[in-house]
Subunit: 332 residues, 6 copies
């Protein structure tokens, strides 16, 4: 049986939830990974208003859709990041408050706990998201890093997230970090460190998104194998390297979609990610959850692209075999 | 005539200047790019004490060495960087003072002006170094950058460095920024922006170091061609990519020399840099200055490596031709 | 809105125009780039006979087709080429006349002016074609070229084509040279020279065909960006390199389709051209004209191939986006 | 006209022949390459029972299927192999008998003659299969091979197979060896030796299967050209290399489907084989026989994969052209 | 301090030991890895005749040479291999005896014990060699392997070698298996199995030879890291892939040096092995033993090649660093 | 025994012969391939003046040099080329005469006969050179070639060269065509045609120069194997591809040394040619003649480059082996 295909609603937050649900239903998606921003899913309202949650469910059902996860990347980011001006644009006013960094972090942490509670109320067991990172800005060691300070960053992260994950555990919900540059974990090494910092507790796992691996020259399928028991959710998103000796792999401080970038996000199947290899690895580790398309391609019309991506996943994802073939060569 | 070969003394700052000079003289180097840290070259003392400068010159002459440039990367870094704890380790106590960021930046800027004056006094016309960057920490645009803020970063940089370059101009000395991640310029795009921010004034140019380009997948020879009139100094340093699907090109927040890094610095000729291609480009643009070996290889004994690197440069660098060959096919 | 897809009729000149139009209509093409040879479009008749032009239009309309350009490669070739025996096969008898080279060139030039007039009469504003080249035979500099002679070749070309383009300007029609080996322009360097020789006058632009770039190892998408304002028409044609150490990239003086050639033309999507990359570049430069399939594959049945190529273009060409995706991450 | 597409029934021998025929008919296959094991085709019964043969034909017709070849790999293998315990699992009890190697080989040889007779009775002119090899175990020359012994192995092979091919000739049937590691021929060199050993008699040719070439780094299309007149049957099967520096191309003595193998079989179109290049070569040599899918992919559900493979072949195989395209450029 | 460079004498067994020692001394080698065949080192004589051992030592000293290991590949091969005609050429008559396989294996095993005793008497603590393999001939699983039988092969190997290694332990000598196709271990997977079969007892380790890894597409440096504590000896031998689509990676049953082979052995530094990468890995794991050149290149004169190989190793092997370079950037 | 190393004097024709001979003697060359232009070797004078020839020999001997071949590329070129203005610069006035094409070709042909006579008189048995080509200008088939005309070109070539080779045969001298674009043979296909056109007569063979193959993506070593019995002389010259998506492999009608060329000539060992692979092939075919450096690198000082090239050849060329290595594994 093939895996369900969903779409994360975050990049469509300019559309009302109901409008988006209608589109997705017509295109044939199986569900939505609902973002906790725009008007798609309001954590506070969900906790305070039973009718709101019921209404969300009704909209889904009316359009033949299901939900396996909600996404709260923006608030999670504010928990462990050093707060700067950019965070004001991504957190709601009551979390930003006076903008004092410690306060912002704490209020964001509380809201992440509420997100677990809201997820439980909606009836989903996975929250995808970001964590931010106390050490991301020390990526390139110059001025030379005191590497003990990096280790302390992982400890601080663990102190910030352990109480959050306690609530997740209590609610029977799991947090799935999207491993991603700018986050506490963005590759094999840092993912190991992150899981270790939390004593590998099961409440904290991974939202695996290959688009953040391809431009780092990482093999997502091998990652899936190595961290098999922590793959809680999977994004289908693609990226492409456009290196020509004049474009840096580091991105040149210019926006996605700019001609001179060394890599960019593209619609699934249009980039460097080897999705068949990834899906085979997911079969091998027994992942049965949704394949959630995160659609982002600054050079393509999204109404052309989203159904194209859905068709791509439908024809690329297949069920594993249970037959050993050479066995058939043997005489009965 | 081949170009002179020097060594930048920064990574040998644990050795007294005289000891290092003796080594280099015996190995056959043509000169030293003297770092303004360790005991190698003290800017304050040079300005206040004529004998000090004379003594430096004598040590060089005694060992058959010359000097074409001095290096002050560490102080330059503090001019435009947002100051954090790491800077305390790289600036002298009188620059650090109480550690208030604005004060540190201003005192570092003053010391850079003094560096130009000291260079003039020593009789060299080039200071190599870093600038720091107000925007480096916004490398990956998440939380999403306000790209206007990036532009304002280049303006701030120009405000900070214009008065410094005024002094360089007055002293007849040029500043050569080592284009490098963590600096205001690290690739083609950002170098263009940097030079533009300073109205392409001739006092500010480039110290071209290919080791910072190779892991970005940039072509150093094309860079030399494009910025031909701003190549004021050249480093010979190498780096190697060790990508295997499990190591990130971003460096994994681990130190140079660690097995799991996706790239590392290595002794010249042992890595990915195509030095012949670079030297041909330098011939093409008419660069006649020193080739200054920056020796850094965490897996090799430096006393084995530095003479190996010198021999590598001697056999790889050659003079250009003035003969058009097919012309010789013509009958006289 | 996707771009219209047409087919250049030149390689189907063995079929009567009406037969071809029926085929294309049934296959679902949007139009025809009508070749001025075979019986497809007769320039003389068009100029002398209004009913002829009307009839051409009727045939198109009857089959649901449109026309955005006519093609006159064969006559254009004779304008600037040194005339030899091969030209007799590609120009009509009245242009060949007695075969005296200068006369052939002049008569071909007059007919190109007529082509502009006929295009205007048919109601199209683009004529695609070739120019020939006074210097192509000096491709490999042995016996050593006098390179001043190459420059004189570009001047001669400009003298021959300026009066032709005057007529194009007068008629409100543009000439689009198919950049191609054997022509005055076949790569980046020679295209720059060609446009410069004509003072970059707008009446003379480019018919961009990637199949002539791939075997030269040229990047068609970068070409589209560099010459953005001169891309007047686009061919969809593919080529493939079949190098194995025994086959020369130069073609071995054997015909297309021979096993031992180092490269060959193939049906679009079956070769080396990265069409998605090209179409993204066309989106970036705002090209809205036709994508005209030039179908040529010596190893494939053309009635299988042409609809296969049409389907390929339909699924590969897409509209650009107007949404900035990370913007959606921001809170409202 | 496109080539018929069949499926070799060997890997589906767990299904009754009729069940398989129904599946294939519904999926749209043109025929079956019937394996002489499982209950699919019993050589003894075919020779002794006319109704059996008629029944097989009826099952095919009922499902809109045809048959161009039968396969007897398992018995052929026992003719020239040194017999060991593994052969007991692949030959029927009456061939195994007491397991004495010479006896097993002789009985297998007799049964191969019967296979030719049964093929004739069924009305097919091709038997595909294996031969085994007296020298395969000497693949890596350590302890150092006496290479004269290799030559003697080819002579022994010829002695064993000549009488078999005599029967094939008499019956008007051809034997098509699947060139494959473990067989007397597995690459260019050994295929030449094999055909030479049999004096290139026409009764013995090749069943060309590209999946056995890709992991050897062999070019199947070039093989088809070189051995054009001996390509009697073609398999469509794919394989993929998964080399990462830790997986050996030699297979590590672990089963297909294991994660640590350096290569594996995969469903057609999902691996390294360039089928278009192969089909173009088949067009070039005039091969008009079936393309027989041998479906084997330990990571894919076979009921998903077989129709996927059929669709792949249908869209990839095309008829050759008879038009010379540049000819159309000439004036009529 | 650089590692000593030796030469394994096996491929020079046509020369008397003394002649070879003189050559090596003159060329500047540090020692010999003495083969137990030809007249180089006779195990029986060494055990029975003290003067013989003393004489060997004198010859070495006279030529300025040392010995760190003796090699007994040929006898080791006969311990676990299924014995066939090829073994008669590589074992002495008293081991071959009547050629009964079990007897040959047992006598070879006894002689391997004696080899440990002779090594101890000579004063060396390492014996390099082969083991043979009960399962090598099952490399390609057709007829399909019973993989339980592979496991039993590793058990049989352990039963055969445990008593041998008991003697090695008693003598304070270690056995270093040259991981190599045809042996019980030839890649990562089979090396893990082999060491596990012997419960990872320290008496049994690895003679690491990269030439056997390169044609398998294995990364020798990663192998050295993974099996760091079992790398007891290192060969410097090179191999090259010559794949062109017509040559199989499997070797085509033709001898080394034949034009049509897909890979071949070549003099160190002339092939695919990345020796610098390997030597860096050896530095990382702290290997301080000899680098023993195994010289074999069927296309090169060995008297030209051996000193060329020595020079190659001398200029490629270097000592590791103990300095952390960025530390030098810090102010004192 | 290694092969002698010579230098072709053509690109040094601006220097008097004696000056060049002194240089080469001091650098350690074994000989000169003397060009028949500049003052190096005058065919007419050699035939008319015995003292001239004796003097040439004396100059060689005085500088420890030998001569194995003379080169007459420029006159050979005029034999089969369509004559144009460029030929006037490469032939002497008495050959050019009134410039009438047929006359120039005939006079050049006569002079080539004289070259054979002069070679014999000098005591050398090889003349290297060019032939020109009647069909080179038809390289790219547009306007479409009449391929029968290509065939006629080969016939014309044979008619022109047969009488010349008759004289070579009579004099006991062989002509060695440098296979090269612009010549009658420039790759595998055209070399076969060329040799066939002359009925493979032994008087006409090949001067093998890999620099003309590398940019065509041809494998020179395979060429040496295929045409083994016609390899009469070998040039050591290198070329490099500098493709970056903007530079054409066809050369852009710009001179060697220009930045925008897609490929260029470089000093041996600095480009794409795999000389070790070539020298191994020469060993395999038993070529014992000179390796003649043709030095041409527009970016390198030739007095630095020529000795660098000589050292490169000396360390890269080696003698073949006569030992079969695995044989040494066998017991005596």
């Amino acid at each position: 049986m093939a895996r369900p295909v969903t779409l994360i609603s975050g990049q469509w937050a300019d559309l009302p939830f109901e409008t988006l649900a209608e589109k997705l239903g017509q295109w044939g998606f199986d569900g939505i990974e609902i973002a906790c921003w725009g008007d798609h899913f309001d954590v506070d309202q969900a906790l305070s208003d039973d009718a709101y949650v019921k209404n969300r469910r009704e909209i889904l059902e009316r359009n033949g859709l299901n939900v396996w996860a909600i996404a709260n990347h923006l608030l999670g980011q504010a928990v462990s990041d050093p707060i700067d001006a950019r965070h004001q644009a991504i957190v709601p006013p009551d979390v930003w408050g006076d903008g004092d960094p410690t306060g912002v972090q704490q209020r964001a942490a509380e809201k992440m706990k509420d997100t677990a509670r809201a997820a439980a109320k909606l009836g989903v067991t996975t929250v995808t998201g970001f964590t931010g990172s106390p050490v991301w800005h020390m990526l390139y060691s110059f001025p030379p890093n005191d590497f003990a300070e990096i280790e302390r960053g992982y400890e601080r992260f663990a102190e910030q997230w352990s109480p959050i994950i306690d609530v997740f555990d209590a609610e029977g919900v799991k947090f799935a970090l999207e491993v991603h540059p700018t986050e506490i974990a963005y590759d094999f090494v840092t993912t190991r460190k992150t899981l270790d910092a939390l004593d590998n507790r099961p409440g904290f796992g991974i939202n695996l998104d290959p688009s953040h691996f391809a431009h780092q020259f990482l093999d997502t399928a091998e990652f899936a194998i190595e961290f098999a028991d922590r793959i809680y959710h999977v994004h289908v998103k693609d990226s492409i390297k456009r290196l020509n000796g004049r474009r840096s792999i580091l991105g040149s401080h210019i926006n996605f979609g700019e001609l001179e970038r060394g890599w960019d996000f593209v619609s699934p199947g249009h980039g460097d990610v080897d999705f068949e290899d990834l899906f085979r690895a997911l079969n091998r580790i027994g992942y049965q959850g949704p394949l959630s398309i995160e659609w982002e391609d600054s050079g393509m019309d999204r109404d052309w692209g989203a159904p194209d991506a859905l068709a791509f996943v439908r024809r690329t994802d297949f069920s594993p075999s249970t037959v050993a073939f050479d066995a058939a060569f043997e005489r009965k």
